[in-house]
């Protein structure tokens, strides 16, 4: 008895430049009440499998093999048969709740429409069902929320509405494609709980597509690992995550940054003597950047948003400070204040001992020459009209105008070598590079002037885990070599724990708590930090189950 059975599925996309095989010979099964996680890096074909299962692939896709959903064949089925299937037998939850909902109609009406599509009920009954569904997915005051428009809801609430629509007709199969990737960790934990409860209630089978091993450990019963369009390993979650059989799975799991959550892992300190040691030294050294009581407001009048309130933080020479927090906590704004891109409404910023607000013109520019910047988006970080060499050379052109072309070329080559990129890439355009290569070009540009401070705003969040691992290694190694200080902004506590000596936790624009990384993340002083850490799923199903039940026990007491 299976609710989804895929046999020998192959999908090929025909494009202007020829056929691109996306999925090859994939066979999967999902039983009622079971959750199968489909994991892999970008381009592995996991989303293509999910779309194929609902018959939603683009026009240029050629599909072969068999897909049956609750006994109905999907491959080659006509649109009307698929329409009957969708929303009743199989339903979907996508990554971006903002685009999954119609912005112009009320959420209650959107849920009611799904109900009426498949059941002969009156308008009033459907509206009542919608309110009931909103209650089931944990939306507070469902009667009132039913008449809200999507833009009036938060991201987490919107995803709850999407889930309400997905479970409206008690489908046999729920397909969730990265359902929590766009959400904060605390919201992610709630949404995963909700999905788990709704699936368990009605015996719905779930096909979960994700790149996040923590989510897999938290939620899945079985796992299928995809690589280049093929399934390389399938098995129960404990088996695959704890005793991976395939080399690629091992490689993938080794690359995942793991949040150390338990005290006895003190041995970890001993494993990294050089980092633990270097953490002590800079404590006495001069601060390279210091924010004191910084407040930033955006907008005017009654629409003013307080982005930062009395934030103080210091980065000393040679040390790495992790700036963590959920979205809209002000962490990027704080980094931009430190860079002088955002002028604080009150408070002061001291960069290398000079007050940034009082330094203008040439002295300000020479001050800023000591700063390197790496931002999040690998695509937007490099000007597509320049070659890699020109991108890296830009700081030299700004600050060392007298430099001759051969000298400049030598410095660029040197910087590219530092980030382990071959000199052959120098003439290429950014479009020809992968995301990881682009971020390393950004890093080379940041380091070409040998800065004393590197500000990295989510430098690896857009990258696959194995690529993230390489980029982080390069940064850490260069920091050891060149000794620059680093302000590292990230939403990923595991990355920060691995990378930073001290951590500053921001919440709603204010510093919630700060301290040495291990102390703060293992014995947080505030309830907020505790919840933040508890919400991060670890990629170990046994440990994660224990944490989840501890959390549930805490919630009931």
């Amino acid at each position: 008895m299976t609710v989804l059975s895929i046999e020998n599925l192959a999908v090929t996309f025909s494009t202007d430049t020829g056929d691109v095989p996306a999925v090859r010979d994939v066979s999967l099964r999902v039983r009622p009440g079971e959750t199968l996680a489909l994991v892999g890096e970008s381009g592995s074909g996991k989303s293509t499998v999910a779309l194929a299962a609902t018959g939603l692939l683009a026009q240029n896709a050629r599909v072969s093999g068999r897909i049956s959903v609750d006994g109905t064949e999907v491959v080659g089925a006509d649109e009307s048969a698929l329409a009957r299937l969708r929303g009743r037998t199989v339903s979907m939850v996508f990554q971006e709740p903002a685009t999954a909902l119609d912005p112009l109609s009320r959420v209650g009406a959107q849920i009611a429409e799904v109900v009426r599509n498949h059941r002969r009920v009156s308008r009033a009954e459907a509206a009542r069902a919608a309110v009931e569904l909103l209650r089931r997915v944990g939306v507070a005051e469902p009667e009132r929320r039913a008449s809200a428009f999507p833009f009036q809801l938060s991201g987490g609430q919107r995803q709850r509405v999407v889930i309400a629509m997905a479970i409206a007709n008690s489908p046999g199969l729920l397909i969730a494609d990265e359902p929590t990737t766009a959400l904060d960790v605390t919201v992610q934990a709630e949404i995963l709980d909700l999905l788990r409860a709704s699936a368990a209630d009605s015996g719905t089978g779930v096909l979960l597509v994700t790149h996040n091993m923590g989510v897999v450990a938290d939620f899945a019963d079985r796992v299928a690992v995809m690589l280049e369009g093929e399934v390389v390993e399938t098995g129960p979650v404990e088996e695959v995550l704890l005793r991976p059989g395939h080399e690629y799975t091992r490689h993938l799991l080794a690359a995942v940054p793991r949040l150390t959550v338990a005290e006895p892992e003190r041995a970890k300190y001993a494993e990294k003597p050089e980092r633990a040691g270097s953490a002590k030294e800079p404590a006495g050294s001069a601060p390279v950047v210091e924010l004191r009581d910084v407040s930033v407001r955006f907008g005017r009048g009654h629409r003013t948003v307080k982005a930062l309130t009395d934030v103080s933080l210091t980065v000393r020479a040679g040390e790495t400070v992790g700036l963590v927090g959920e979205s809209a906590s002000g962490k990027s704004t704080a980094a931009r204040v430190a860079l002088g891109l955002v002028r604080p409404d009150s408070g002061s910023v001291t960069l290398f001992g000079s007050d940034l607000a009082r330094t203008r013109g040439r002295p300000r520019r020479s001050l800023l020459s000591g700063v390197g910047v790496v931002l999040q988006d690998p695509v937007a970080s490099l000007d597509a009209r320049m070659s890699v060499a020109e991108c890296v050379a830009e700081p030299l052109r700004v600050h060392q105008r007298g430099m001759s072309a051969p000298q400049r070329r030598a410095r660029v080559a040197e910087a590219l070598e530092l980030v382990r990129l071959s000199d052959g890439l120098a003439k290429r355009g950014p479009r020809e590079l992968s995301g990881g290569q682009r971020q390393r070009v950004s890093l080379a540009r940041a380091l070409v002037l040998q800065p004393r401070l590197l500000v990295a705003d989510e430098p690896t969040s857009a990258l696959d885990v194995s690529v993230q691992r390489t980029v982080l290694e390069v940064i850490a190694e260069l920091q050891g070599e060149l000794g620059f200080a680093c302000l590292f902004v990230s939403h990923d506590l595991a990355v920060v724990q691995e990378f930073a000596q001290r951590v500053v936790v921001l919440r709603a624009g204010a510093v919630e708590e700060e301290g040495p990384t291990m102390t703060t993340l293992l014995r947080p002083e505030t309830e907020y930090t505790r919840r933040l850490i508890a919400a991060v799923p670890v990629p170990d199903p046994v440990l994660q189950r224990r944490r989840r039940s501890a959390l549930a026990a805490e919630a009931t007491t």
Partner: protein
């Protein structure tokens, strides 16, 4: 790296620069437009060397001849060869059209880029000036200017350029607003790069497709505008002329059946303006930028 990624990264550089060219080459109206423009340029600037005619002296023995023989398109009321005059007038029309279209685009680009990049009150003031300018019909300004002075070719270029930079400035400002918050511009500013560098090295090169498309439409508009102005007798003065002036001069003659005095310049204006618009449409689709519809 997966097969899919490898394939798509091999595809991207084509999308970078060669694809717009190929798309343009497949756009038939655009290629036809380009051909028409090239032919007219050759006709007006190289033509007089092959078919030299006297366009400064009147020849009262040769007035109002019908087309035929050596006089391909006949002669006008003062004995100028009409075929040669079409070249002679076209020179002025095309020169003034191209130059003032380019001038308008340059002025508009600088204005729009500065306003968009600076933001704040400066942007507000600069764009209100643009709004005010758009509210006054260009033709009205031209009539006032021509009433005060009689412009020569250079004067005409400057005046036309200065009344039509408003639309390109709006387009470039919109483009600048999105480009100035790109990460590479932020990175440059964070390490102390100058505003001039941000605009000159990043924002303008990245809006070049918008600018080129805008310039093409500007040229089409300018050629039409020159024709208006000259038709009303306010353009370049005789014995110099342009297509609009020829239309104006030939109008009375048309009632007495001398069609050859108005049909050729009229057709020339229509063909060239349509050709530039087709090129603009083609470029817009090829670059995939927003422009006028």
């Amino acid at each position: 790296m997966t097969a899919v990624l490898r394939a798509s990264s091999a595809l991207e550089p084509v999308a970078g620069y060669r694809l717009p060219l190929r798309r343009f080459a497949h756009n038939r109206p655009a290629v036809a437009g380009l051909a028409v423009v090239v032919l007219f340029l050759l006709f007006c600037f190289v033509g007089p060397l092959i078919h030299p005619t006297d366009q400064t002296h009147t020849d009262l023995t040769q007035v109002n001849l019908a087309p035929g023989g050596a006089r391909l398109l006949g002669t006008d009321a003062v004995g100028h060869d009409e075929f040669g005059r079409l070249m002679y007038g076209g020179k002025v029309s095309l020169l003034v059209g191209l130059a003032s279209g380019v001038l308008a685009t340059v002025v508009g680009t600088v204005w729009g880029a500065v306003a968009g990049y600076a933001g704040g009150w400066l942007d507000a003031v600069m764009m209100r000036i643009v709004d005010a300018g758009i509210a006054i019909p260009a033709l009205f300004i031209l009539l006032v200017v021509s009433a005060i002075t009689t412009p020569d070719t250079l004067g005409l270029i400057v005046v036309l350029g200065l009344v039509s930079w408003l639309v390109p400035s709006r387009l470039v400002r919109a483009e600048t607003l999105t480009l100035k918050s790109r990460d590479y511009v932020l990175t440059l500013r964070a390490i102390g790069g100058t505003h001039g560098r941000a605009i000159g090295r990043h924002i303008l090169p990245n809006s070049v497709s918008t600018i080129v498309v805008a310039a093409t439409f500007q040229v089409a508009d300018a050629i039409l505008l020159v024709a208006y102005v000259s038709y009303l007798g306010l353009g370049v003065q005789p014995p110099s002329t342009d297509w609009g002036g020829m239309l104006s001069a030939g109008l009375t003659a048309a009632y007495s059946g001398r069609w050859w005095l108005i049909v050729p310049p009229g057709l020339a204006i229509i063909l060239v303006v349509c050709a530039f618009n087709a090129i603009g449409d083609g470029l817009r689709d090829a670059f995939d930028v927003r422009g006028r519809g």
